[in-house]
Subunit: 190 residues, 2 copies
DNA sequence: ATACTTACTTACTAATAAGTAAATAATATT
DNA sequence: AATATTATTTACTTATTAGTAAGTAAGTAT
């Protein structure tokens, strides 16, 4: 098992992930990737025969990432508000990367996605929403935060604020996102 | 001035608008439009020389629509909560049309949009956010609704909930949107 | 009736897309 | 050293895209 194989494939994955979040599934091509890596188009096809394969791997990769984050948060001794801030920080970082969250990206392109990938997107979305709901529920049980909705609903409210907040920041600027972030955290503190 | 001109151009605009909200700017072509109208590709170019021209007209069209809505709401005697519900209903309707809101659609594709259109998108977004903020501010002044954030921030919170809620509904289903909508309205009633 | 305008169609072009087959270079395995 | 295996290039194909140029049919204006 050579080192180079993994390197190039990983780099393709990484660039694909960035492009997906920056311009969306329909606006990037294998040529965009190959040019960045100074390799030929066909080399990208060697690692990911079809664009669908690449997309599937990107989504799988995010599922793994979020599972790790879930474990990390569970084993941390962060206060609930700070756990939610971890999510808010991730979304704030997307703005600086000229990106939006993958879920938002694939949701916008949903009706043009290969069927097999849609299922993975559903899994990823449920994973993320479930995580946030769990953090919220535990935080409320521990008396650290306050909200009157069901935990799942509150997770929906927070994540939609963040996801669309990042999208909106492209149009009206980052300060609108910061207003959202601040209001969000304040609400939890009651 | 013939009737047919207006008809075809209007239909192109309407189909373009639907496609933009369904699959996004980069995923539809003039061929998609011409096939639906049983005309040739070049006929679409006759009415809208470039895709940028079409996109610009779509955005302008939404600006007009929202200006009319603003007037309609100002002259109505709807309660504030019902005015906000008008927005929520519009977004709920998008789900049934397999669409997302234009602002979300163009935000996702923002870095692939022609420069000239970006400015129009900014205007549209400010128009919508301004409208909602105004409704909220007046509602609070009249003692009809309650919120502690600034009106602009509350408008951001509500509109991001709705916009991303519609996107999320593609993945997890419409009931998540309905949870958001209900929670949103409940919050205003305090 | 003639000229002009409008709304198209036919028939292209140039560029880019995704994807493939075959040859070749580089790296491991035995 | 010989042999696989892996990674990549070269050279395509097929399809689609946005866009254009030239022609035409029908209506409008003078």
């Amino acid at each position: 098992m050579s080192a180079k194989t993994t390197d190039t494939k990983q780099e393709i994955l990484s660039i694909g992930r960035d492009l997906l979040k920056k311009v969306g599934y329909n606006a990037f091509s294998y040529s965009d990737i190959s040019k960045q890596l100074n390799i030929k188009n066909a080399a990208v096809h060697y690692h990911y025969p079809t664009k669908e394969d690449l997309l599937a791997d990107i989504v799988n990769n995010y599922i793994e990432d979020y599972k790790k984050l879930e474990l990390g948060l569970a084993n941390s001794n962060l206060k609930t508000v700070d756990k939610i801030s971890v999510f808010a920080d991730r979304y704030a970082h997307l703005i600086d990367m000229e990106s939006i969250c993958i879920i938002g990206s694939v949701a916008s392109d949903f009706y043009t996605l290969p069927e097999a990938v849609k299922d993975k997107v559903v899994s990823l979305t449920n994973l993320v929403l479930g995580m946030v709901a769990k953090v919220l529920e535990k935080g409320r049980a521990d008396g650290e935060i306050f909200f009157k909705e069901e935990a799942h609903t509150k997770a929906l409210l927070i994540m939609t604020n963040l996801a669309a907040g990042v999208q909106l920041a492209r149009i009206t600027g980052k300060k609108d996102f910061e207003s959202i972030r601040t209001a969000l955290i304040d609400q939890l503190k009651k």
